[in-house]
Symmetry: C2
Subunit: 372 residues, 2 copies
């Protein structure tokens, strides 16, 4: 039994703000999405126009009208850990709470579309609500679907509802994670000169990271701003022991014009000394903005937004690697993602829902087949 | 019931090597001394010339012959955690195993003396075998006895059987533990420039520790070599978050001529910037060597050893604060304490036993009243 009780019922006919609040108030930190996935699955199965498939704690729902084109709308169900920002709180025009921005607001928009666009006129739609986006890539629910049920991800264009301030954010940067291990030699602290303090030696590594000036790379007119950060430092054997090891975990963000191999060489090149062991634990390439691709250009035109570069990594890159053109378009300021004070503007929730419904519901002749 | 079964029987008439092995082979990591304390208590209660008192998992045994002087012989029963170094192993002249050096060899010598010097000629003897020396000071068994039964610790001189290579190590250095907290501001690593990386800022603190040259302080002709070490570094929120806090735990060893307040001021003075929060979590003053004190000088003379400075902290400092002159004298190289390869030389076990028995057993006229 889930200690939190059964999954709540989600009312997809409710206003997008109420629905976002219901999603925020159903905690779903990465790895703990079961209850929210149950709720989403149950609500979608109640809709006769959708064919629903569950893969792990991810849910896929498809219209199957036989249209020659298909568009995919996706959002992840998980959030980073809570930071005193539950339950949700509506403060005038802003809805606060864990995941309001990243990305339960976007998920709510997608769920509303799933419920209210029963007969898209020009393209079939695949909705994907997936688990474990905020953690190691090998747990990513979209990756699991791609491995187990790749046919479910077939589409001519993917729209990721990641927070992008209700604008189009194109492409995304790549991510590299590495552990830099600094070694020393243990000794009792009362006779520290017999050892070598690995934590002290790590000071130079951290200082080098502090001094590093990341590059800015311009592609298709968009500026991708790279980054290189220690995200964890671990050293310590016992209170009276000189530590013989200090591990610094580094998270690098690199422009989509760099390949994974180039990114690895770049980071390794910053720490060429034998004194440091650099182990790259994960490299996920980014995605080029691809503004020249027809499917992307068409949606960008319809949404009437000027594309910006996506600086964070998103599953746009995963779709790129699957050969599916993709972009980010969703409510919420991406800068607020992963902050305790994250919120989503109510107006952006409504704007994203309205614009996407208009595009999805309109036939090629412009007629509207949505239910609202 | 203790899952290891009842306490083993200790044969105090056995050779000191066999007794040390029996002690090593009765695990007693700090907090888990009950079984060994039971064995020690039981063996001592079988000796009619001793009055035995149990305090927690510490055992005090006293001769009460009415001598005007009293000497205290003490050793702690606990060890640091095992490191693949059990059971004991006799390798020629060296006895290996967890605690062989720190300090079951010394405890074995003291137990042998308790059994074989029934009628000390010149001074009554108090033996103290105590718990929790290797952990936080507020758990220390000697501290508990001092709080609950201070009269049991009354003595003109205390000999701590701590490993000192069968030589006299006088006084001891003090210990200061502090947490240095470096703060920053969280941000998503894709937009790291919006935050401040606390781990990067901590590089300067670690570098300062690396550059620090500890002082050497000479007292009574003995050189105390100070130390200042990061023993732990902790930072990390999540793999894609710029950490807003990095905590460096520092362990300082300071010469006994510095008071606790002076040691604190010294460490704080190294990090005067507002950017660093220095919280001193524990300060335990050292003990001056006190070689000029009559009781210490007399024993040093009898043992025929040239005193050396004790660099580690020992309960000598606790006795000093109780007004009892004290020194370290025991088998085993202190450098081996807390190492997986610790051992005690058999020759040192025998030498310490023989010399102390001669001193304790001899009357002021030199007659020998020991049972061997």
């Amino acid at each position: 039994m889930d200690p939190l009780g059964p999954a709540p019922e989600l009312d997809l006919t409710a206003d997008v703000v109420a629905l976002t609040r219901a999603l925020v108030d159903t905690p779903s930190e990465s790895g703990e999405e079961a209850r929210l996935a149950d709720a989403v699955e149950s609500a979608l199965r109640a809709l006769p126009h959708l064919t629903v498939t569950r893969v792990g704690h991810s849910v896929v729902a498809r219209t199957e009208l036989g249209h020659p084109e298909r568009v995919l709308v996706a959002g992840h169900l998980d959030t980073v850990p809570a930071a005193g920002n539950l339950p949700s709180r509506l403060d005038g025009a802003l809805l606060h709470g864990l995941g309001a921005c990243d990305m339960k607001g976007g998920v709510a928009v997608a769920l509303r579309l799933a419920a209210t666009v029963p007969e898209p006129a020009a393209r079939d739609i695949t909705y994907v609500f997936y688990e474990c986006e905020e953690v190691e890539g090998d747990r990513n629910g979209l990756g699991r679907i791609a491995a187990e049920r790749p046919e479910l991800l077939t589409a001519g264009l993917a729209i990721l509802m990641e927070p992008s301030d209700a604008g189009v954010e194109a492409g995304c940067q790549g991510v590299l994670t590495a552990d830099i291990t600094v070694r020393g030699e243990r000794a009792h602290t009362a006779r520290a000169w017999r050892g070598v303090n690995a934590a002290h030696r790590a000071g130079a590594v951290l200082q080098r990271l502090a001094d590093h000036v990341p590059e800015r790379v311009v592609i298709d007119g968009l500026e991708y701003r790279e980054g290189l950060n220690a995200v964890a430092v671990r050293a310590g054997v016992a209170g009276n022991v000189v530590p013989d090891e200090c591990v610094i975990t580094v998270n690098a963000r690199f422009a989509p014009s760099r390949s994974a191999a180039e990114a690895q060489a770049y980071v390794r090149g910053l720490f060429p000394e034998d004194a440091y062991e650099v182990e790259v634990t994960e490299t996920v390439p980014g995605a080029l903005p691809g503004l020249g691709q027809e499917a992307v250009a068409s949606l960008v035109g319809v949404l009437g937004a000027t594309p910006r570069p996506k600086l964070g990594w998103t599953d746009v890159a995963r779709f790129a690697s699957l050969g599916v053109p993709a972009l980010n378009y969703g409510p919420g300021d991406p800068v607020l993602a992963h902050t305790a004070g994250e919120y989503v503007p109510v107006a952006q929730l409504r704007e994203c829902e309205t614009r996407l419904r208009a595009w999805l519901g309109a036939g090629r002749d412009g007629s509207d087949r949505t239910s609202e």
